[in-house]
């Protein structure tokens, strides 16, 4: 959907229960009730996530039309071959990666810095927590309106600041193919920073104070404390934040659609927009499914890498 990372289970520090062999009697007794409670969610999951995913995989092998019932004629791998041979597919993929590269480092580093700074405050912490988190609760349409206004040529906030400083404002950040993606990235960073910030803050508050006290007694400077205590102790949070952020960035759509609609030209067109245009403008659900599936594979690969990363990190800890 957007660059909002989904909350992940592993964020919680609840110790994992080891599943060795069959279920315990308690579990067996509970399982019926558990299924019953899971059913409402399960049905939604099946109807709106698993079902469409399977349908997507099937239609990607057919010339399925948006306006006609049924699957249409069998296409084999033609849709995939078409997508892999299309210049705009690769440019959309590159723009998606470009966005990921622009947003992930600032979203991780800034969130970390702001969390460390906020954590040092004795009083008024609530204000900063609120201030950083507030943009995150706004919908993407609101964010886009705010930033489109800021980047409006000649009359926008940014242009006003520029003219106040004696610089002649140009055509606007979003009007130039070279800077449009940067503009979208800035808006996104401002918007979603709060989420990572909260994750880091929670992580920080779990680091035992004694470590810092001991370090202070040993004469470690503030920087040394951050370098040798805070950063290593937040290692797991950082891995999580980075990977969630990458996955979320790959699914970028809202801001691009609302702020530039892929323009100027197709210079900010991202993969999900290509999918939307193919599926709903060209009415080619089959080809759009193939493009979605390629993106799906990409995200799964990254998720697997994350899993492997996690596992090796856990092994190192053990």
């Amino acid at each position: 959907m957007t660059a909002i990372p989904a909350v992940d289970r592993s964020v919680a520090t609840v110790p994992k229960r080891s599943f060795t062999g069959g279920l315990s009697p308690v579990n067996r007794h509970d399982s019926r009730g558990a299924w019953l409670f899971l059913a409402p969610f399960g049905i939604f999951y099946l109807a709106f996530l698993l079902g469409p995913t399977i349908w997507m995989l099937i239609t990607s092998f057919f010339n399925t039309s948006t306006v006609r019932p049924g699957l249409g004629s069998f296409a084999g791998f033609a849709n995939y071959a078409e997508m892999l041979g299309r210049a705009d597919f690769w440019s959309a993929l590159w723009h998606t990666i470009q966005f990921t590269l622009y947003t992930t480092p600032p979203l991780v580093i800034l969130a970390f810095i702001f969390a460390v700074l906020t954590n040092r405050l004795g009083r008024g912490q609530w204000y900063f927590r609120l201030a950083f988190f507030l943009p995150f609760i706004l919908p993407s349409a609101t964010i886009s309106l705010i930033w489109v206004f800021i980047f409006t040529p000649a009359t926008g906030l940014w242009a006003s600041v520029q003219s106040a400083l004696g610089i002649t404002p140009g055509a606007g950040v979003l009007a130039d193919p070279n800077t449009a993606m940067i503009g979208i990235a800035i808006a996104t960073v401002w918007w979603t920073l709060g989420f990572n910030f909260v994750l880091y803050l929670a992580g920080l508050q779990e680091i035992p104070r004694e470590l810092y006290e001991a370090a202070a007694v040993d004469g470690a400077s503030n920087w040394a404390q951050i370098r040798y205590i805070t950063i290593p102790m937040l290692g797991r949070t950082t891995t999580l934040v980075i990977l969630l952020q990458i996955i979320a960035s790959l699914k970028i759509f809202d801001q691009v659609y609302l702020m530039t609609n892929g323009g100027p030209g197709i210079s900010t067109q991202v993969l999900l927009m290509l999918v939307t245009n193919t599926g709903f403008t060209d009415n080619r659900i089959g080809a759009a499914s193939a493009a979605s599936f390629l993106l799906f594979i990409l995200i799964v690969v990254i998720a697997i890498i994350r899993q492997l990363f996690d596992r090796s990190a856990a092994r190192r800890e053990a």
């Binding site: 948006t66 306006v67 006609r68 249409g72 403008t281 060209d282 009415n283 089959g286």
Partner: protein, 446 residues
């Protein structure tokens, strides 16, 4: 345990009872939005839902026309929704119809109505429908009426024709000696006459003579190219067979594009200007002519102290031609009672009756009673270019074609680059062929 069970039961039965009550209330009042949504019944049977894509001057004129209808039929008789034009509008119309929630009446460009009809999105309009509100085929401009006929059916009722025209700056043209004794632009037909006019204007402005948007703009380059291309005798459509064959006449393509490049080289035609910039040049007297659709009349009229006129694009080659499209009324596919059908047709008729209001925005009425009226003939400068509707050239039908479509975007982008002289005519044609390949090879999904 026992207590838990009991309290659980009572809570459950309480909730069930509550839900049942709420459900009964909701379903009893069939006009409630919830029930309407769940059961798919119209919220208010009197209400006519109309979708359109008009912004700017067109938007406010359409609102005036809608207000007249709403006044005549009482409050709650019309709900008009405006969407951003181009591909997003047609995607919404398609998905709403496929999802069984279409508007009662919608606006569509004529060239976009064809793919919609092919995709089973539109209902044909019968002679009986027309007759039910006192209309017949002979009430419409024969050119646009013939253009909407598809497979023997009427698929759309044209409201107007909107061709590419030539705007001119009265003061600049007067200095260039191009204004006749009647205060109108002298005819500039034929390449030699036109080019000497460009040279004369260029002398007055000290540079550009004619402007046409080609930066961040793909539709205008396409409109200008198509207009000139179809002025050449015997050219084939750019694409044919519903977009499966590229049939552009390559010699004619080269002739037109290299001629335009030669104008740029001489400094007569702008190298690179965006939509607003191209207008401003002519409005401020830095150019004498400006090529764009007639709808820009509203903008031109809003410029204080600007004296301008509008004429059909001069015939530079063998015969007159003007790229054009029409705004039309279409009936998206849905279950309609005979009364609802009549109501939709009544709305269309009410809009057609106000064609004169619409014509003030530059569009040439398709409705002959208005087109032939003395009131329209007295409209200046509208009447000066109304003849262009007779030789309007509509984009060839294609499932990815029409106004604001993928086809226009692809071809127009290359033509824009050719005007910037960034690529040769051959280079443009090659890029067009490459980029359209996917679409040419893909069978229509409609």
């Amino acid at each position: 345990m026992a207590m838990h069970t009991r309290s659980g039961l009572t809570r459950r039965s309480f909730l069930a009872a509550g839900l049942a009550t709420a459900g009964t209330v909701a379903l009893a009042g069939c006009t409630s939005p919830l029930a309407a949504g769940l059961l798919g019944v119209p919220l208010n049977p009197q209400l006519l839902i109309f979708w359109n894509l008009f912004g700017g001057g067109d938007g406010s004129r359409m609102q005036t026309m809608e207000a007249t209808y709403a006044k005549a039929h009482g409050p709650g008789s019309l709900q008009a929704t405006v969407f951003a034009w181009g591909n997003p509008y047609y995607s919404k119309l398609t998905l709403a119809t496929v999802g069984n929630k279409p508007p009662d009446v919608a606006i569509s460009h004529l060239t976009r109505a064809k793919p919609l009809y092919d995709g089973d999105i539109l209902e044909p309009i019968t002679e009986a429908d027309l007759a039910s509100v006192g209309l017949s085929a002979s009430d419409f401009n024969p050119k646009s009426w013939a253009a909407q006929r598809t497979a023997g059916n009427n698929i759309a009722i044209p409201l107007d024709t909107h061709p590419l025209v030539m705007f001119f700056n009265q003061d600049v043209c007067k200095k260039a000696g191009l204004i006749g004794s009647d205060g109108k632009l002298k005819p500039l037909h034929g390449m030699d006459a036109f080019e000497s006019a460009l040279a004369a204007v260029s002398k007055v402005t000290g540079g550009t003579a004619i402007t046409s948007a080609n930066v961040s703009e793909t539709a205008t380059p396409w409109r200008v190219f198509t207009t000139l291309y179809h002025q050449i005798n015997g050219v084939t459509p750019f694409i044919s067979d519903n977009g499966s064959k590229l049939t552009v006449d390559e010699d004619a393509f080269n002739t037109v594009v290299s001629r335009m490049q030669s104008w740029v080289k001489k400094g007569w035609l702008n190298n690179g200007l965006d939509y607003a910039g191209a207008q401003t040049q002519m409005f401020t007297g830095k150019a004498g002519f400006y090529l764009e659709g007639e709808w820009e009349i509203t903008t031109a009229q809003s410029i204080k102290g600007l004296k301008f006129g509008m004429v059909p694009v001069p015939t530079l080659y063998d015969k007159p031609a003007a790229q054009a499209d029409s705004h039309t009324f279409v009936l998206p596919r849905k279950d309609r009672t005979p009364e609802q059908r009549k109501q939709a047709m009544g709305f269309i008729k009410a809009m057609l009756d106000q064609s004169l209001t619409w014509a003030k925005g530059g569009h040439i009425p398709a409705y002959l009673p208005t087109l032939n009226s003395s009131a329209y003939k007295a409209l200046e400068p509208q009447a000066d270019y109304a003849g262009a509707a007779k030789y309007a050239v509509y984009d060839a039908p294609a499932w990815y074609g029409g106004s604001g479509s993928t086809f226009e975007n692809t071809v127009g982008a290359q033509l824009a680059l050719a005007q910037q002289r960034a690529i040769t005519p051959q280079g443009a044609l090659k890029a067009i062929k490459d980029q359209l390949q996917v679409y040419l090879n893909t069978p229509s999904p409609l």
